[in-house]
């Protein structure tokens, strides 16, 4: 069982399930993004997801895109992501996944990227624009290095594609709660519940729900049927508005939704 899978399973044993948080690397600067990630773990987050800033993020909503643009303007480089992972891992024990669009990985070199991530103590990748059927290079590199690979499942995915995502994902399957981009939503789509049930039929034993999750109540509801809940935009907004203390406070508040 991979460290990410293990962390989610442990949260499921001890509580209602896992809380996974997203923050971009380098926002508002590298030090603060590391401190914020550490603060989230110290306040109850089980798995960290660090976003790699990219110029053309088609899955991201306005809050995350604005933050990643700040990081890029601040001079973010891919190697900063490995530095961030290493520094976070030296301070807290939670597994760290990188979420990245595919082109930066290709340009860095798929194998070199995998090696450097593994050396930094990273757990693996979430690839929003790389599906299993287009991901032969990454499947090979992650098999070689033992890194996790989190593929996405959408409400519109066929059963066959869900099976592909389940069979090839390691860590968890990223269950897209609703047809849309990242960003807080008032009502979570019932589609997530249906999709988790369909993923279970295909054999998923670690499936987490993201996109639009922003309150402890939503997290509690999601954990009645899923293994984890993924929160992004509201953490980014908290960091933008109130710095690391605000992120820590929000982390503790949302972690309560997991039964902590």
């Amino acid at each position: 069982m991979s460290p990410v899978h293990e962390a989610i399973a442990a949260a499921k044993r001890d509580r209602d399930g896992a809380l996974i948080s997203y923050l971009p690397v380098g926002f508002p600067d590298l030090d603060a993004s590391v401190d914020a990630a550490v603060a989230l773990v110290e306040n109850g987050v089980d798995v960290l997801e660090l976003g790699l800033p990219y110029s053309d993020p088609v899955m991201d909503g306005p809050v995350i895109q604005a933050a990643t643009q700040v990081a890029l303007e601040g001079g973010f480089r891919i190697r900063d992501a490995f530095t961030a992972v290493e520094r976070i891992r030296s301070r807290v024990d939670a597994p760290v996944l990188l979420m990245t669009y595919w082109n930066p990985v290709v340009q860095y070199g798929v194998d070199r990227f995998a090696d450097d991530l593994a050396s930094a103590g990273g757990a693996g990748l979430i690839t929003p624009d790389l599906t299993v059927d287009s991901g032969a290079d990454w499947l090979a590199a992650s098999d070689r290095t033992g890194l996790d690979r989190v593929f996405l499942a959408a409400p519109t995915s066929t059963d066959e594609r869900l099976r592909l995502a389940v069979e090839n994902s390691r860590g968890f399957v990223y269950t897209v709660s609703t047809m849309g981009i990242t960003g807080a939503r008032e009502d979570l789509d019932a589609a997530a519940r249906t999709l988790i049930a369909r993923l279970r039929e295909q054999g998923a034993d670690s499936a987490c729900v993201g996109i639009g999750v922003s309150t402890a109540e939503q997290i509690a509801e999601i954990l009645t049927y899923a293994d984890g809940a993924i929160v992004g935009s509201v953490f980014v907004k908290a960091l933008a508005d109130g710095g690391v203390p605000a992120v820590a406070e929000l982390g503790a508040r949302l972690a309560a939704g997991t039964g902590r």
């Binding site: 990219y54 899955m59 340009q107 287009s134 996405l152 519109t156 995915s157 047809m179």
Partner: protein, 410 residues
Amino acid sequence: MTSPEVTPSLRSEVGPFFGDFGGRFMPESLIAALDELDEAYQTAKLDPLFHEELAELHRTYTGRPSILTEVPRFAKHAGGARVILKREDLNHTGSHKINNVLGQALLAKRLGKTRLIAETGAGQHGVATATAAALFGMECVVYMGEVDTERQALNVARMRLLGAEVIPVTTGTRTLKDALNDAFRHWVANVESTHYLIGTVAGPHPFPVMVRDFVKVIGEEARAQMLELTGALPDAVAACVGGGSNAIGIFHAFLDDTSVGLYGFEAAGLGADTDRHAATITKGRPGVLHGSRSFVLQDEDGQTMESHSISAGLDYPGVGPEHAWLASIGRATYSPITDEAAMSAFRLLCTTEGIIPAIESAHALAGAIDLGRELGPDATILVSLSGRGDKDVATAGRYFDVLDEGSVQS
């Protein structure tokens, strides 16, 4: 006895890959819509009714076939070679864009979609999409970089008059690439009701091959017309390349004619050696952008670089994957043309032939001048005049300082 060697046709590529280029790098949320579109397209391709309906629209609405115009006074500046224009500028809505739009709009109707969304740079594709939406009674939303809404104010007004909503995109570099990002985002959230009508031969499969099939009529007509007019195939075919739809449209019919040189002209802006250009194949390298693997202007980390061209329609840091493939196998040659050379060719066509071209197309004209001088007076050069210059009058008027101040808002 050996069987004669069969040369495989370069015209038969059906995707998702063209050599190492193409593919489908997209969020899982859109894969079902792409599959649905691909299936609908494959079915339509085999349906004579679909082709009849499209051909009828082209006859009675677009104005096809578009004519050829020989331009001898212009050609004197091109080493005396014969220069012949394929007049896509005479199409309804003023450019080759309508060919693709009508095809995709018919498909969208077959899929039961009620809304069309599109991205546009210069606005020609947006105008064409708004036109088709009006014609078919569909809703239309057009994403356009904020920078481009300013330099193409006339086309923004056109789209609005046609009933479309124009959304200025304020993310990223606020140009065409960001309009694509926002259109994809909107499509993810509204995929049930909405068809994303991509305007060029880029994007994830099946767009590059489908758009190619809808625009290849340009070259098929032109090839037959050239044989009729000159009794021979041209020595060279020239077209401007941004995303590359008009170029692939006119190239495709000639791909297997090895005697015909194919020349794509990219926007070199202030110069391909400066950092202010959009010469993607000349200066970019393979990467993934907007759903397919092709040449991309990018930094060492794979971050897309800002492109620049005086023509909003060519100001795109990517290019269609079929062009990347044609470049890689040496079947087509891609060269940069500066803003200055394009504008000089623009003015030359205006004053020698009474035709105001789109600034995009002026890049192909500038390329044809170079080609003519290189190939000499015996050569025949076919040029895709992909659009007319109405939308560019303000830009060109300002460039040549012939605009009375206050006569045009933007």
